[in-house]
Amino acid sequence: MTARDEPGETRPIPVRATGPTVPTVPSRTSKPARRRPPRRWATVLAWTLVATCVVSLGVLGYGYQRSLDSAQAWKALATSTTTELEATRVELDRTSETLTKTKLALDDTRQALDETKGNLNAVAGQYNDASERIRELADEKAKVGDEAGLLATAVAQAARLQDQLDTCVTGLRSLQAYLVDADRADPEALASVVAEVNSGCDEAQSQSRDFQEWLEGR
């Protein structure tokens, strides 16, 4: 048996001889035989390696499990994405078809719009022509009205002139009557009548000339 006294060193425990003594086997050396003590650092290293392996295996196992889960999640994501993409593509195809129809309808509408625009231009042209014609007709009517107004004025002036000429003729007739029996007439009164009649007739003649010139000027 051995007993620990010092680290890394053992020595035999003295045994009291109670019986016949057995000669000890001589060692190869002259020194007494001593067992080499096992190294403690090897033990510690072994345990450390074991612990490390156990921990690593645990981590690997955890990682493996996580990888399985991740793969499952990726697969699910890929499946759902594929489904969504397919649905989106179908929807886009529908939209494309709708857009195509809309474009055709828009082309039709544009064509109709062009036709309407042409019609509008034609109507606008007719409207402009009609407006211009109304403008011209209003002017023509105004001119006719002006002429009618002038004629009315001329008629009124002619009527006034007619009155003056009638007065002149009446005066001349009266003067003629006086002159037939001039011996019995008062010479001063006769001269006054002559002057009055002449004045009226001169005025009528003057008015007549003015009126004639006015008519010729028109």
Partner: protein, 250 residues
């Protein structure tokens, strides 16, 4: 022997640790979803181009609001026929110049489209060359009066019957204010460069807002031209007592 065992053990541990490290950097979870690239729509060759207002290419040359409110006034006097202009400020109220209606035996009004309107009454102002004619039937278009006189530089539009001809629109600006060229009023008058002629008397001066700012009444053949300011017109409209009878014919 012990050294080789130790080396082997260390290598095993290192490999184990390496695997364990790799396990830590594995793509554990899928990445977050991102918006897919825009899908290219086929079947539509080109996007239609719609130009705003492309349909409004037709130009209408009808009668403006100013023209619709304008009237041609024929004054048949004892000596002949005079032609002037006027405009409606109310459905039955026409504004023109005093000298347009002076000596009238008969007054005849004609609208922009040639319709005749029967005159009910007429009166003239004493303080400016203005007259008010009332008619028996309503007119469709009228012109609002501005609340204040125009300022020099303001653009104006004049609508009337120069020379007794077709309804005509001319444009110009207010130049300044000056004395009455005829000398019959003590009030300052608008002097402007919007061309008018004999027959334009009584035409409205309309500003950029479409409101009457004056009434044309005189001018030199080459310009400038004179107009009664709207404030005097307002004074006449607000005070009917300022109106007197039309001087008779002859």
């Amino acid at each position: 022997m012990a050294r080789s065992s130790l080396t082997l053990a260390a290598s095993g541990a290192a490999v184990t640790l390496l695997f364990a490290g790799c396990a830590a950097v594995l793509p554990i979870s899928p990445p977050s979803r991102t918006t897919p690239a825009p899908y290219t729509v086929s079947g539509v060759s080109s996007a239609p181009v719609i130009t705003a207002g492309s349909a409004a290419t037709a130009t209408l040359k009808g009668f403006t609001a100013y023209e619709r409110a304008a009237l041609r006034i024929r004054n048949i006097t004892c000596e002949g026929v005079e032609v002037g202009s006027g405009f409606a400020v109310a459905p039955r109220v026409i504004v023109t110049n005093r000298h347009v209606v002076d000596g009238a035996a008969v007054l005849q009004l004609q609208t922009y489209d040639g319709h005749d309107r029967q005159v009910a009454t007429a009166g003239v102002a004493t303080f400016a060359d203005l007259a008010i004619v009332r008619i028996s039937d309503d007119l469709a278009a009228t012109l609002p009066l501005a609340s204040a006189n125009p300022k020099p530089g303001d653009p104006i539009t004049v609508v009337g019957y120069p020379g007794g001809g077709e309804l005509t629109t001319s444009h110009g600006h207010v130049l300044r204010y000056g004395a009455d060229i005829v000398g019959e009023s003590d009030e300052p008058m608008i002097i402007n460069d919007a061309p008018i002629a004999h027959g334009s008397s009584g035409s409205p001066l309309v500003d950029a807002a479409g409101e009457v700012v004056g009434v044309a009444y005189a001018g030199k053949p080459e310009g400038p031209f004179w107009a009664v300011p709207v404030e005097l017109l307002r004074q006449l409209i607000d005070s009917p007592t300022e109106l007197g009878p039309v001087p008779p014919c002859g």
